[in-house]
């Protein structure tokens, strides 16, 4: 081995950018000097890996692209419950990767020794005939999908170039990685069901096995033919063709499909999710059971086309897609009687025409608010025109279950976040949900998005856009500038990352910024609302104590190791909290005590020191007494000083009174003595 491997957990400073190796969980060595480009995923680079406990194992590692939201719940599931038909996920960990000079997630898989199926077919090393398809291709993939379904998730990355031969004999096919990018993110349009293909890649949504079944159908076409029959058709053209002809006709094109596969392909490539073949249907087919033949059902077409956006549209679905791209023209069209005449006579959508007219009237009625805007009107009309399509608003197309990854990608790319927040704030999702009550749990989704709206409307730390970001993306790393390069996905890794960040962070900046607060709120399963409230307090001393209490609570609950750097960093920010004590003596005592606690690396101890209830009560009482004593002194001073010559006059009056008293007493004594002496 050329270089000494890094122990990922002992890295304190980012290493220079160079080739290198890391060790995961003190067992799996990932060799940065041995890339495996043939096993790369679109968002993860493949490298050679080995198990130090068992060198005979064939492994490879996928080093994820930092910033891309990962499917961490699926990573955990696949790790703990491996199944047939899938590449075995052996291990995973977020570690420092020297080649890019920052931490990132590395996922270790069992290495498919036969390589990528499509590469083998193209090179002629493997040949898959129509007779091989059922047992050699469909069966293992269906086994894999069935296993994925038992884990209550979907693969969402099924495509020919993500299928591998597990063995060198090129006999066993398995599904490749699906956890290094959001669901459907890497899928070419061809392998996504039509309704999800119409959304942006990041916003295609979590999906289900039904979507995997469509991808299986599209993949089968490519594997059967040996190449992609519609390879040259991209983007809008493909979507247009699929919408007009139906996905089966569009994907198969003029390719020669074996008769034996027509039935399953029609079933799998159905554009209706309800009619699409599921695992049971395809299993029955594999077992030789006849299925009810499905007829190809192209979308409802108008007799005459409607010209919009440079294309002739014959159905409202493509029109909805086009409307979202050209909003001013769409509004003109929606208000044009010619369009409604076309809807009624040519497209046969009389009811839809009435509905759209109703929306236009409503928009006219609400001219004063956002419901009267062109964007809102077009979004509402698009939802009605394409009931199974994504939310379309201001050019953005996103499924509600893909909202999280979409938001994450837009934030990471500094994209258009405004539109996404408007979808929540202006409740664009509401009418989208109401149009889809037949196949959505509208109440649950409504509640989920109402909660997001509440978070978005709050400016406090731990809420806002950041909270939505982390709540909706379990696999997204914390985006705080302090620790973004650490790729922290799990709450347990947060304090060690902040501890490392203390070495290079500006001492005046706070470790708990909006991202860290939201990350904790989303990933930490404890009630931290009181801490967040304190953190958001306008008074600096309360905010600092809130920050300390939150971090201390985290360290205490997670039973984390001492964090010397972080304790020192927080200790340097405690000025306002210490100054919240009135007594200077107490302040000096606290300041003297902090270095000792820094050496212990214990945030709970530091919190106990700073926010000791008994000490606070003593301080308050002492302060109240001091104020009272000060007031009393001031009153007495005012009395003594009086005003003008009052003191002088007072002194003179006292002197005169004293003189009179002396005189009277002297007289009385003298008279008494004289009288007695005369008598005696």
């Amino acid at each position: 081995m050329a270089e000494e491997p890094f122990d990922a957990d002992e890295i304190e400073e980012p290493a220079p950018v160079r080739g290198g190796s890391v060790v995961l969980r003190e067992r799996f060595l990932v060799n940065g000097g041995k890339p495996l480009p043939e096993l790369d995923s679109p968002n993860a680079k493949a490298f050679m890996a080995e198990d130090r406990h068992d060198l005979s194992r064939n492994l490879f590692a996928l080093v994820c692209t930092p910033g891309i939201p990962l499917r961490t719940p699926e990573i955990k599931k696949f790790k703990t419950t491996p199944g047939s038909g899938l590449l075995e996920l052996v291990e995973w960990e977020s570690v420092f990767w020297p080649i890019i000079g920052q931490r990132t997630m590395i996922v270790i898989y069992e290495r498919p020794m036969g390589g990528r199926v499509m590469d083998r077919i193209k090179s002629g090393q493997a040949r898959i005939t129509e007779y091989d398809i059922p047992r050699k291709v469909i069966q293992p993939i269906v086994d894999g999908l069935r296993h994925v379904k038992t884990l209550n998730t979907a693969h969402r990355a099924l495509r020919p170039d993500n299928l591998f031969f597990l063995d060198e004999d090129l006999q066993e096919i398995v599904l490749g990685d699906c956890v290094t990018a959001p669901e459907g993110f890497d899928q070419p349009l061809m392998y996504e069901p039509l309704e999800r293909a119409l959304a942006s890649p990041a916003g295609r949504g979590v999906g289900s096995t039904t979507d995997d079944m469509y991808a299986l159908g599209a993949s089968l076409v490519v594997l059967t033919v040996g190449s992609n029959p519609i390879e040259r058709m991209k983007g809008e053209d493909l979507l247009f063709r699929r919408t007009n002809l139906g996905s089966y006709a569009a994907v198969c094109g003029n390719a020669r499909i074996p008769m034996s596969l027509l039935e399953p392909l029609r079933g799998l490539l159905s554009d209706s999710a309800n009619e699409r073949w599921g695992i049971d249907e395809i299993s029955n087919w594999l077992n030789g059971l006849k299925q009810t033949p499905q007829q190809k059902k192209p979308a409802r077409k108008g007799e005459t086309p409607l010209r919009f956006g440079g294309r002739d549209h014959t159905n409202v679905r493509t029109l909805a897609h086009a409307f979202n791209r050209q909003i001013p023209e769409a509004v003109k069209t929606l208000k044009d009687e010619t369009f409604h005449a076309w809807l009624k006579r040519s497209a046969g959508e009389g009811d839809l025409s009435d509905t759209l007219k109703g929306y236009v009237d409503t928009a006219n009625f609400h001219k004063e608010n956002h419901q009267g805007t062109d964007e809102y009107l077009v979004a509402r009309c698009c939802a009605a025109m394409d009931p199974h399509g994504p939310i379309r608003f201001k050019g953005v197309s996103v499924y509600l279950d893909g909202f999280g990854p979409m938001l994450a990608m837009e934030i990471i790319r500094n994209g258009n976040i405004q539109v996404l927040t408007e979808i929540i704030n202006r409740e664009i999702y509401q009418f989208w949900i109401s149009d889809r009550t037949s196949f959505l749990d509208s109440i649950e989704i409504g509640q989920q998005y109402a909660q997001m709206k509440a978070w978005l409307s709050s400016k406090e730390a731990g809420q806002g856009l950041e909270r939505c970001l982390y709540e909706l993306n379990a696999g997204l790393a914390c985006q705080s500038p302090h620790i973004i390069e650490d790729g922290i996905i799990f709450i347990d890794d947060l304090l060690p990352a902040l501890d490392r960040a203390a070495n290079h962070a500006d001492g005046h900046s706070k470790p708990v910024d909006r991202h860290v607060a939201a990350f904790i709120a989303a990933r930490f399963n404890e009630d931290i609302l009181p801490h967040l409230r304190a953190l958001a307090a306008p008074k600096e001393s309360t905010a600092v104590i809130g920050m300390l209490s939150l971090l201390a609570f985290l360290q205490w609950k997670l039973k984390g190791a001492p964090v010397y750097g972080l304790t020192s960093w927080v200790g340097g920010l405690l000025g306002p909290a210490i100054n919240a004590y009135h007594s200077r003596t107490t302040r000096r005592e606290l300041e003297k005590e902090i270095p000792r606690l820094v050496r212990r690396g214990s945030l709970p101890d530091m919190f106990d020191l700073i926010d000791n209830a008994e000490k606070r009560a003593e301080d308050q009482d002492g302060y109240a007494d001091a104020v009272e004593e000060y007031s009393a002194c001031s009153r007495e001073i005012t009395d003594i000083e009086g005003s003008g010559n009052e003191l002088q006059e007072k002194a003179e009056r006292t002197g005169q009174r004293t003189a009179a008293t002396i005189s009277i007493i002297t007289t009385m004594i003298a008279v008494t003595i004289m009288f007695i002496s005369e008598i005696l």
Binding site: L573, G575, I594, Y623, Y630, Q656, A659, S663, T667
Partner: protein, 164 residues
């Protein structure tokens, strides 16, 4: 009311003139400085009257005793009033009263002034100690505005940064 007092006063004075004319004569002439002090003393407390009148009476009383326990006659009274030594004793007492009245207040005032200054210093020191220990915010919370107060030295702010 006043008229009644005057009538009663005149009645008693007339009775005294009949019964003890020598005594009345001696007191009337011997206590003239006290009477003058009473007339010119316009203060409410009448300190000058008591001061001068008291010591004036001290000077008159030995001669009253001579009258009362000796020859209580008009001649004896006239004899005493024409005696320069007796007059010197009576009026000297009044003079002592005036001296006491004029000299004692400034002394007492100076003493009180010194005591007050000392007390002011003590109070200001107490306030300074309070501000040193509890900070300037005490002034605000005491709702005094800090007029005339000495502020403590700012010596212990933001030491937390050093601790880190």
């Amino acid at each position: 009311m006043n008229m009644r007092v005057i009538i009663w006063g005149l009645l008693i004075f007339a009775l005294l003139l009949i019964v003890a004319l020598p005594t009345v004569m001696l007191v009337a002439f011997g206590m003239l400085p006290g009477l003058v002090a009473m007339i010119i003393d316009r203060t409410e407390e009448r300190s000058a009257t008591f001061c001068v009148g008291g010591l004036n009476f001290c000077g008159v009383f030995p001669y009253l005793m001579d009258l009362w326990f000796g020859d209580h006659s008009l001649g004896q009274a006239i004899g005493q009033l024409t005696d320069v030594f007796a007059l010197a004793v009576m009026y000297g007492g009044a003079c002592m009263g005036w001296m006491l009245y004029l000299s004692l207040p400034p002394v007492i005032a100076s003493f009180i002034q010194v005591m007050s200054e000392r007390r002011l210093q003590q109070l200001r020191k107490t306030q300074r100690d309070i501000l040193d220990e509890w900070g300037d915010e005490v002034i605000t919370d005491a709702d005094l505005g800090g007029d005339g107060l000495v502020l403590p030295q700012q010596d212990d702010q933001n030491v937390a940064a050093e601790a880190a």
